[in-house]
Subunit: 473 residues, 2 copies
Amino acid sequence: MEAERRSIFDKIFFPESVAIVGISRTYTGLGGQFFLRNLQRAGYPGRIFLINPTAGEINGIPAYSSLAALPESVDLAIICVPAQFVPSVLNECRLKGILNVHILTSGFKELGTPEGIRLEKEIEQIALKGRINVIGPNCMGPYAPASRLMLWGQIPASSGSLAFLSQSGTLTQRITEHAHFTGIGLSKAVSFGNAAGLDSTEYLEYLADDPQTKVIGLYLESVRNGRRLLNLARHINPVKPLVIWKGGETPSGAGAVASHTGTLSGQDQIWESGLRQAGVTRVRSLDEVVGTAMAFLYLPPARGRRLFILGGGGGNSVYYADICMGMGLQTPSLTGKTREKLTALVPAVGSFARNPVDAWRSFHDPDFLGKILEPVFEDQGLDMIIVDRLIPRMTYAQPEEKDTTHEAIEYLRKNRSRKPLAVVVDGNGEDPVLATKAARLRQRFCRAGVPAYASLPLASRALAHLAAYYEKK
Amino acid sequence: MEAERRSIFDKIFFPESVAIVGISRTYTGLGGQFFLRNLQRAGYPGRIFLINPTAGEINGIPAYSSLAALPESVDLAIICVPAQFVPSVLNECRLKGILNVHILTSGFKELGTPEGIRLEKEIEQIALKGRINVIGPNCMGPYAPASRLMLWGQIPASSGSLAFLSQSGTLTQRITEHAHFTGIGLSKAVSFGNAAGLDSTEYLEYLADDPQTKVIGLYLESVRNGRRLLNLARHINPVKPLVIWKGGETPSGAGAVASHTGTLSGQDQIWESGLRQAGVTRVRSLDEVVGTAMAFLYLPPARGRRLFILGGGGGNSVYYADICMGMGLQTPSLTGKTREKLTALVPAVGSFARNPVDAWRSFHDPDFLGKILEPVFEDQGLDMIIVDRLIPRMTYAQPEEKDTTHEAIEYLRKNRSRKPLAVVVDGNGEDPVLATKAARLRQRFCRAGVPAYASLPLASRALAHLAAYYEKK
């Protein structure tokens, strides 16, 4: 991206001034008041201008009757007026020299009506004419914790190295929850809806050279220029892993795409082979986007697919092996020194050289945990590790022990460059108290840089993606 | 099962007296003290005898030096002594005329050692000789809330109509959490480990005629007599749906089976075709066992696979359709009266006749919910319904509304015989507070008889299983 274009694009995420066009006098849910409230909550340090033709002032802030009346141009305009007025407001932006415009309003191509399609065409034409970066319409817009441009989501939110591009506002909002509570943080996020102006390829081009961004997650329903997307992906992915979720992959989903963002999703087979050739990671849920991104952000390269599992409870071992195999990982039998050393610690290992290894003691004895993992870290025949960290459940006969989570985390942190290692803390069972406990426990691991997952399928899938990425690289 | 055998078998779950053989003086986790404590907590009304060769008394209860010293025989003995002593204790049981024996102890065939294999053979022979029902070894044993025989798990726990048979103690314990917190309750559960005595087929035969049991869940790693199991399944399944999870389905899992319960799991393809022919429902996780059982227990028969989804947020609609298609359901476009009526309520429906329908208002306006669902209940072209019940998240711009969950539940309850309907309440995002809130909300639905699921994949998979069951029937 050329320097001038880039410096304009920067202001989408780091605007020094924002205009909210079409803000009502009172809060009514999603709309101008919602954005204003969030910018204030976030302590956004830039200038905020409100546009309302008649209000005079809103929440104690003077409101301008139109964009033309503003004392200056702004770095970012947010349009919340009804669909039929959007083209004229966009024209006002053009006349005012505003180069970045987020359109929240829906009611365009996604409706499938002649009027909606016509209005969206108009937007496209005005954007071209004014060289305006249009984000949307029908979307939640840009998000950047570093500049406190938090129009929605968890506030305050921590900055991080994950960028997320999405045609779904809901999913973009949801990812801010994950990013906040796991502590992985976001560099930038954009919900760009119908993509009448900027499309995924433009954002990608920008993120390719964004120093804050190390991993890029995408939720796409359609792409205007598929070939360009795949070229970009091939170029960016080896440096910054791309984690793509493609919605509308089934005929029904494709129908829903048409009515969601007014575009047609390409045939899934074409996508599948294109994405595979580009080497990008393809996922199929938001949890998988986050979980996989976390693995890329926190873990060292994977040298293979041979997984060691430290678990608890014999029944788990059996289906754990099933699940990991299903994800394309292997759980080889233990050999050599690992076998010898683990047999000394867990006698049952001796008979079958089994993997998963069951050793409840490791959950409350960090020294023991270290003794189990040390030979595994050294073993050239094992590439990655999952530690299934059972939490005390009412239902188990666990003796009460002091909480040594802190020490366990310290040990895992210190050793985290040695091999990719993921922790599983499963709070399933519909016990509300346990659900909280498990989420808090995962949070402690994640925030210390040790990725923790809510289930073995999620953890093993993230590791499988990691392995696949480094195989292709 | 003949009457005499049956009346003995009954006492596994409804024992009037229990002996705990091998109970230490103090609590050390899993063992005799654990079982005693749980029986007491549960208010088990029968007689409890403790056997310890030297203690004299334990927790204020007199302890007998051996089974021979007991004043009476007992309905159920629970053996917790080390493996090498198990055969002699089992012999004592035989001499005392005890016909039901649960062996907690591990260290038998599952070790793969000649000694372990020999000891297990001995158990088998003594059991045969004494016509003893041996549960185990290497297992958590029987569980029946109705008789307060709650040796583990959630205490108190509610009785219900789901029976669960499992070779994994961990999973059997875990299911008591689900059963308790969702309120579906258990009729009986057995963790039967190595199955040296009773195998799944015997339990199944018993449950076939158990009036308390309406649905049977199974976690199996191996079956001694596969043909018999499939015959039984074919016979029972049309009356009481069987939901089978077969562990050890991959080569790695099979290896872990050998070291978990000391048996070899059959080749997966053979299982797959056998189970399919028997018409049983095959699942691959504990959540799926519970979720599917809940659908069988609470929902009316499914007449087809055409699903209507009421959701919130456009992005959701797209991937919701993808997920449901992936599970083998259809989300047809709306037609006729349904389309007309829904267009009047949600104008966007008109343009694309879309399904999923997005209508946030339905989450806080039960009358509106009823108006949306009424034509769907009437529509002969729609077979089942998912209501995606978003909960207020910090991240969304939802206006504050009064909680109308109670009214929504009442409406759904009243209409629950009309069409299979599942609710989704997704609390993902790693927010510990939200996780609790979502679990509590699901609980309210479930306990009112409206199945609620933590994710769309879980809900749609349960409905797909329901549809498949009634297609075959």
